[in-house]
Amino acid sequence: MAGLSDVQGTATDSPTTTPKVVVDGVDKVYESERQRVEALSDVNFSVSEGEFVCLVGPSGCGKTTLFRTIAGLEAPTGGEIRLDGEAVTGPGTDRGMVFQEYGLFPWRTVRDNVAFGLEEQGVEEPDRTRRVDEMLDLVGLGGFADAYPKELSGGMKQRVGIARALAVDPEILLADEPFGSVDAQTRDMLHEELLRIWAETGKTVLFVTHDVEEAVKLSDRVVVMAADPGRVREVVDVDIERPRERTDPAFGEYVGRIRELIGE
């Protein structure tokens, strides 16, 4: 790993407007009798309203731990996460989550999966059905409303996952390697779709991946993490017009630079 030690990306360096998400001095230590693992050490960065930010890093850099902490599924041992200025204390519908393993409820149809969060919010019919249809159209699954998850391909499952996460109209969309289990061709297609959905909904997106090209393809900024302990190495602004092509020399430069930071 390169000997860089300059840790950038504090809560103050966000270029525009008020930060939507602030990761403020987050530490996460797992302690057992035999060992002490520092999964995250003083992680600082922020995400602006409407911004698309990717978290990349080698395995063991704590990016999934950070994702789970932002989701409220784990509590930080130090520091805090703030969403719209409020500290995150647990999971909630203000953060729409998309998981690598989809997490669809197998006993529910596509329609009922998307409706799950709406039911919890107390959205009544016919609004619920209208909202579900809207979401299914957004992800292009209108014709599969009554299918069960087992009947869908990986890419389709993840589109249901995205529709379900967005149905409750969260403040931000959090995704943990959402396309890690689909083939390359489907992944490219899903990238296009996600960017379209992002443009259409104006949501703030925080996207965890280990795939540097995916990060450069998608995001406004890339938070590059390092391992042992998990920390932010650098935050890279990706200044390329969309749609982005992998063949673009500038694209390659970004990929090369981030890979170097990661130490690949």
Binding site: A71, G72, L73, G90, P91, G92, T93, R95, G96, M97, F99, E101, G103, F105, P106, W107, R108, T109, F116, G117, E119, E120, Q121, Y148, P149, K150, R164, V168
Partner: protein, 305 residues
Amino acid sequence: MSLETGSASPRTTAETGTTGVTTTDADTSDSEPSTGTGSLSDLDAVGLAYGAVGSAVFLAVWQAAAMAVGRTYLLPSPVEVATAFVVELTAPTTFTVPFVGASIPATRLIANLLQSLLHYIPGLVVGSILGISLGIAMGWSGRLDDALTPVTRFLRPIPPLAWIVFAIVWIGIGHGGAAFIVGIGAFWINFYNAYAGVEGVSTHLREVASTLGVDDDLTMIRKVILPAATPSIATGVRTSIGQCWMIVVAAELFGAPGVGFQIINAAQNLSTDVSVAYMAVISLVFLVSDGAFRRVERRALAWRD
């Protein structure tokens, strides 16, 4: 599994050797709508023909052995059993409806079956509900699990029939006592399946639900744990439907009226053909109820992989 060969064999007995007929029959009824939904549709014509041949050979060997033995009480032949079956099925008697007290006309076989069902069904239903409830509770709550696991571990290995002592001193040996024994059997089977089903629900799904706004235990149990555990719970119910018949027969050995009692009673009169006829009744009732349950299960759990 056994259901297929079971449904094939009566047909073969009626038309011994005419396997061709059986095969065409299967083509139109069983194989055509096969859309890969379950074991029944996996049956092809050839498989069915083999089943028919196997059944025919079994019956032939049995008949030959019975003729060689030459004494009905030692080994009744299939023909004798079938005859006894028909006699029991048609011999008129009355059946007294408990609690109501009214007598309704019935045949011997039907009356005995109803007697058995009078403890089989309450035992199965009550035992299953209690077992499923405790299984879910212990699967969900770690504290309750810790508290009760020593007790359940200790009580589990005791065969249901061993409780006959208490069935007799508490309730008396009749429908109540037999239902009690059946209930204990149903309880454990359903307890362990429900427990395993709830324990096996992935934390991932629970986390997903919590990010979608589920923030209390009851909603989590109702909307995530129960549906996810349903296949395992259904397996428990289906297993107990079969196992409880064995317990019914065992319980009736102690004098509760019903099919099991008839098996013993007839044998004591050396009418083993009647005994075997009642053994066949249990088998048929099991096949019908198990088949019906599978059908419902397959439809209700169509979402399974």
